[in-house]
Symmetry: C2
Subunit: 325 residues, 2 copies
């Protein structure tokens, strides 16, 4: 299962290993909302012109309002992963490794040498990926105070935080705090192919980021979709209400087959199974792609099926596996 | 005319200053092909999934074939400007300023201190923007030898080089040469909103670039359009034939009004006028946007009108100006 432990969404490789065409597969390997914001179907971006500078500014303002952040402290990036990589380069601080979390940190931040005593970047994913653990805002505020005291930084990766506004520290970003927050458009709005995210950080850091990125950090579709989606209050409210309901339904199906799901994030659920590799392969033969993790042979992450019919398909495939147990 | 000397394509600001709606304007302020590759009108990118890793690899192979470069030395970037910025950060070398060229260099590379004796990055735009001057390949090879001898790098910005394959040094990029080349998708193919470009460079430098960019450097539209466009031999051949013809027609119109165009690049022509600011304003009042340059009050750059009717519109507006002279 080697290619599948790096990132989700490797449907092309899944087809190469287990057959079928991408359209036949039920892809539960990512935490991307399977019911995307619908405006992308009708908006036709203007691909001919350079992305518009004013539209970029409006997008950063609309996103900042959604995050409850000062718009002067909000910079669009081509995906939150790209934002984390840029932060790693700009801050230039080592980050202490965290046992089980999103693999990008290890690529964006160097590990400190064993005798390192200087400042570090503390990278906290909230909610954490893949286990969905939600850190209370108070814990992050304490961690920020400790980091700042030692001349270090707190980097809060809030790529999955849209469903948990109360846990976000986006509103705490300020010019006098060593706090940077990354946010994602593609996950909550279900449009990961657009490559749009945001870095919220003090202005001098953002000035360096803008210098690194240049004048057109995101494509015209990101501007067109992002501007409309972040101001679509009805869709946002309906999605905030429906995602937890769908997450609870997934939990019930998993539990029926002896799989206990952990975490607070409705976009993905982490299940424990004695032999997750066997479960992964059984589901893959039924053309359902889930997400295993290197070094964690008992864990398997499930993304949210888009509707009840797809949830029933997962239920049926899990029945084949649990009947054997 | 302050907002117009930084970049072309500021139609929104042109409307704010001179009235009209963007659709009313004839935008000649950029060097973007006004007759874009047509496939973008029918291809619908998959925005929901993450951009596909195999499609990215295929794109880099297709583009490398177009550039006549080893595909292992070709890395997609979200626009050639972003590629230049990343190169500046990764190489970390100062670049000696060049009198009149694309403004990004000053932002991507620091100027050397007055007493600097160490290695530098020599950034050469070929053909140069805005004057269209084409450096012979032999000159670039000599410059590369000098730079490499001193431990420095040659960076060839070939964003406008598609019409001049004989002048390109893309085929010289190799693991043992301190040569990096940037290429642009949006200019020749006329789709600047997609944000797609390429950095051609030795593998260790590309490894650092990929680490900085992360696993999804460009959006799904860039993968879909780029893969189809770089393998569309008929469109590429027809465009290579038609662009010089259109450039010659533009030269003839400019000459009729006493404006001599310089340079070899058919996507833009640089004209000399005693008072280019007056010419810029006259054309802007006719809702034709051209490109002035800070510190060069006698220069005005004209992009290529898309067809004979738009060329006639420019002709008529220039007649108002030259009749006054």
């Amino acid at each position: 299962m080697n290619p599948f432990v790096t990132h989700g969404g490797r449907l092309d490789e899944a087809c190469a290993h287990f057959g079928g065409h991408p359209a036949d597969w039920l892809d539960l390997s990512t935490g991307i909302n399977p019911n995307p914001w619908t405006g992308a179907e009708t908006i036709r971006p203007d691909w001919r012109a350079l992305p518009d500078a004013r539209a970029l500014k409006r997008l950063e303002e609309a996103a900042a309002a959604h995050f409850e952040t000062d718009p002067a402290l909000c910079c669009a990036v081509p995906g939150s992963e790209a934002g984390l990589r840029a932060l790693g380069r700009i801050l230039g601080l080592p980050a202490r490794p965290i046992a089980l979390t999103y693999g990008t940190y290890a690529k964006a931040f160097a590990s400190p040498p064993p005798d390192h005593a200087g400042p570090t970047a503390l990278v906290v994913t909230n909610p954490n990926n893949p286990d969905g653990r939600l850190s209370p805002r108070e814990d992050l505020m304490s961690a920020l105070a400790r980091q700042q005291h030692g001349g270090g930084w707190l980097v809060a990766d809030e790529a999955f935080a849209d469903c948990h506004p109360d846990a976000s520290v986006a509103d705490l970003v300020a010019n006098d705090r060593n706090l940077a927050v990354t946010r994602s458009f593609g996950k909550f709005f279900g449009l990961a192919g657009v490559r749009l995210g945001f870095v919220l950080a003090p202005e001098p850091l953002l000035a360096d980021l803008r210098k690194l990125q240049g004048d057109w950090p995101v494509c015209s579709a990101a501007l067109a979709f992002g501007n409309a989606a972040y101001t679509d209050r009805d869709w946002i409210a309906a999605t905030l209400a429906s995602l937890p309901e769908r997450g609870a339904k997934l939990d019930a199906v998993l539990a029926r087959h002896g799989l206990r799901a952990t975490g607070a994030c409705p976009l993905f659920r982490l299940a424990t199974a004695p032999d997750a590799a066997d479960l992964f392969a059984t589901l893959a033969r039924a053309h359902i792609l889930t997400r295993p993790f290197a070094g964690y042979p008992h864990l398997l992450r499930f993304g949210l099926p888009a509707d009840d019919a797809l949830l029933a398909r997962l239920d049926a495939a899990l029945a084949l596996w649990s009947a054997r147990g």
